[in-house]
Amino acid sequence: MSRFPSHTCHIPLAPLRRRWLEHRPGANALRRPRAGILTLVVSLFGVLIALGPANAQTQNSCLDCHSTLDPPFQVSGNDYTDSIHAQKGVNCVSCHGGDASSSDLDRAMSKAAGFRGAPERKQIPEFCAKCHSDSAYIRGFDPSLRTDQYSQYQTSVHGKLHAKGDDKTAVCTDCHGVHDIRPPSDQRSRVHPLNVAQTCSRCHADAAYMKPYGIATNQFADYSASVHHDALAVRGDLSAPTCSTCHGSHGAAPPGVSSVARVCSTCHVFQAQLFDSGSHKDAFAALSLPACITCHGNHRVQHPTDILIGTSEGSICLKCHASGDGGYLAAAAMHDDLVKLDSAIKRSDDILARAERSGMEVSEAKLAEADARDDLTKARVEIHSVEQPPLENDVGAGLKVAAATYQSGLNALAELRYRRKGLLASVVIIIFVLIGLFLKIRKLESKDTK
C-alpha cells in the first residue's frame, strides 16, 4: 500500500524514452545488425549471465536509466547508494512510486504501478513529512530519530513563509539534499556541524537572494571571524555552536531580545547564573538591552579579554558607565584584580620556563600553577555577577598559588647556581688531584731513569 497519494507526473517521457533506447544494454548491437550474429549471441549470453544473479537481487531500473541522464533527471548511483535512505532500504519506489523491477519504461513509470514522479518544490515539506512525521513508521528504522521536524518547520520563519506561498524559502532538500541525504553525523552531510554554517550561508550570505526579505547578509562573515567558529572549525570541537545551535534547525528563527540570554545559557551556564544574580540583570531590562550580546555581540563573538572590563579604551563598560560613577570604579577595580593575577601567573610561568630550560625539574610547581589558572578562569566568570567580593576571593587564592610557584622557580634557579658552584669547586679539586698525580708520575719515572 502506497504511503503517497497519486498525483500527476510532470516529467516529459518522450525524450527519456529516446535516451533510454540509446543507452540500454545491447543498443549498439541492435542498431548495427551487420555487426554479426556472433556479437548478438555473445551479447545475449552475457545478458543471460548478468540477469541470473541480478534477478536474484533487487533490480532497480530507475537507477539504470537515471544514472545515464543529464540534470535535472540525473541521479548518480553513488550519491544514492551512499545516502542514509539507501542504507536503510528506502528505495526510489518508496518516495516516487512506480515499478523498479520492470525494465519497461512505460510499465515502470505507469500510474498503474503507483508512479507519482518528483514532488513540486512547494510540496516537499509535506512530502518528506509523510514518513518523517510518522513515529510508528520511523521507529522501524531508527527508534531514536525525532519526528517533530515538520511541526517545528511550520513554526519557523522558513515554514511560515512557505505556508504563505513563498517558493524561495528553504525547504527540506535545500539543507539536506535530495538523493544524497546523509545523517548529520556524516562529515559529508550538508548538516554536519562543520558544514551547517556554509549550508545556511548559501542563501543567507547571498545579498541578491535575501533582498526581498530585507535582512542582513553579513552573518556568515561575522560568524567566520568569531570564537565559536574558531572552536568548531579550527579546533574541531563539534560541541561548539554553529547557526542551528542558537537559531534552531527545523524551527529556525532569530532568538528575541528576551530569550537571547536563555539561548546563550544552554552552554554558558555559570555566566548566566551569575548574570541573573547580579545587578546588571535589572539594569539591562530597564534599558531594554538584551543580555549577553550587549557586551559580547552576536555572530561575531570575540574571545573575551580582560580589556573588555575596565575603564581603558576598548572596555565595554564605558558604553554605559561614566567616569566616577559606582560602576566605573568597580569595573576599574575588577580589571586591576584580573590583570594582577594574570601578571603573577605570567611571571611564575617565565621563571619556571627558565628553570626548566636550564634542566631543573619543576613539574610539581607547573602542576600547582594550574590551580592559579583555574582561579583566574573562575574570577573571569565571576565578572558576570559584577560583584567585587567573590572575584577578589578567587583572585586572592590565585595570587597565593602564583606566589608559591614563583618562589619554586626562584628556588630552582638558586639550586642551579649552587650546583654550578659545587661543580666549579669539584673541578678545582679534580685539577689539583690531576696535577698531583702528574707530578707523582714524573717523580717516580725520573727516579726510575736515574
Binding site: E361, I430, V433
Partner: protein
Amino acid sequence: MSALDRTYGWLEDHFRYGEFLALLRKKLVPLHRFSYFYFLGGMTLFLFGIQVFTGILLLLYYRPTPNDAFESVQYIMTQVRFGWLIRSIHSWSANLMILTAFAHMFSVFFLKSYRKPRELTWLTGIALLAIVLGFGFSGYLLPWNTLSFFATKVGTDIAGQVPGIGKWILTFLRGGEDVTGATLTRFFGFHVAVLPGLATLLVAVHLLLVQRFGMSLPPSVEDKWNEQPAARREVAFFPNFLLRELMAWYIALGILGALAAFLPWELGVKADPFASAPAGIRPEWYFMFMFQTLKLLPANIGPVPGDLLGVVGFGFAALVWAFLPFFDRDSRGRTRRWITGAGIFVLGYIVVLTAFGYLAK
C-alpha cells in the same frame, strides 16, 4: 711507629700484601704511540663502578611499579638531597660507559689485540658489551616515561622478529603480550640482579685473562721493537700505569659532574599505556643504527619480510664479529687487510646510520 705503619705491618703480617704489590710491580705495560687506548678498558670498568655505586643509592628510593616508578624518580630528582646529581650521573655514566665499551672494542679490534692467545679475552669482552647494552635497554624503561615506554615497545617488538623463538623472546621480555607493569618488574630484576651478577662474573674472567696474557702489542710496534730492541719502553703497572689510569678516571669524573650540572638528565612525561605513541619515537643512540636500518628496509625483500631479514642479518653479523679472532690467522697477509677493512666498514656503518637516524625526519 705511626698508626699507618702499624696498619701496614698488621696487613703484611696477616695477608703478605707486599708479595701482591711485588707481583703488580713486576707486571709491565708497554709505552708506545697507541698506549692511550689501554685506558679505555679501565675507564669502562671505572664507569661500571660508578654505575654500581649510584645504582645502589637510587635503589634506596626507586619503586618498580607502574604507579610509583615515575613518581619515585621525580621524588629522587626534586626532594632527595643530591638525588638529582646521583640520577644524572647514573644516566650520563651509563651512556659514557657504553661509549667507552664500544671505543675499547674497536681499539682492541684495530690494534689486533684479539689475536692468539687472547681470543677468549675478546669473546668475554663481546659478551660484556652485550650485557652493557642489556643494562642500557632495561634501565631505559625504569623511569616509566612516555619515551621509554614506547621505545621499549618498539625494541621488544624487534626482538620478537627473531625467527622461531621470536614470540617466546617477546613474551619473556615483556612478561606477557604487552608492555605492562610486569615488564617493568622484569626489567628491574634484569637491571639490578641478573645483569650485574653476570657482569661481575664476566669482568672477573676478563680481568683474569688480561692479567694472564698481559698487554698486547700492536703488530707494527711489535715489528719495530723486534727490529730495534733498544726502542722498547715499558712502565710498571703499579704504580706508574695505575696512576695514569687514575688521572683518566678523574677526568671522567669531572666530565660526569659537568654533564650532571649543566645537562641534568630529563625525566619526561609519565607513560600512559592507553595513549597513542607520540611522533618521533626512537631508541637510545647505541641502538639507533639497527633501528634506522630496519626502518630503511622495505616491507618485503622477495618473499621474506624486511624486518625479519634485518634482525637475522644483525644476528649473523654479530656472530661473525664475535668469532673474528678465529678467522684472523694470517696476521701478515691478505686476510689481515680484509678484516681491517671489514672493521672500518662496520665502524663507518654504525656512525653513518646513527647520524642518519638523528638527522632524518
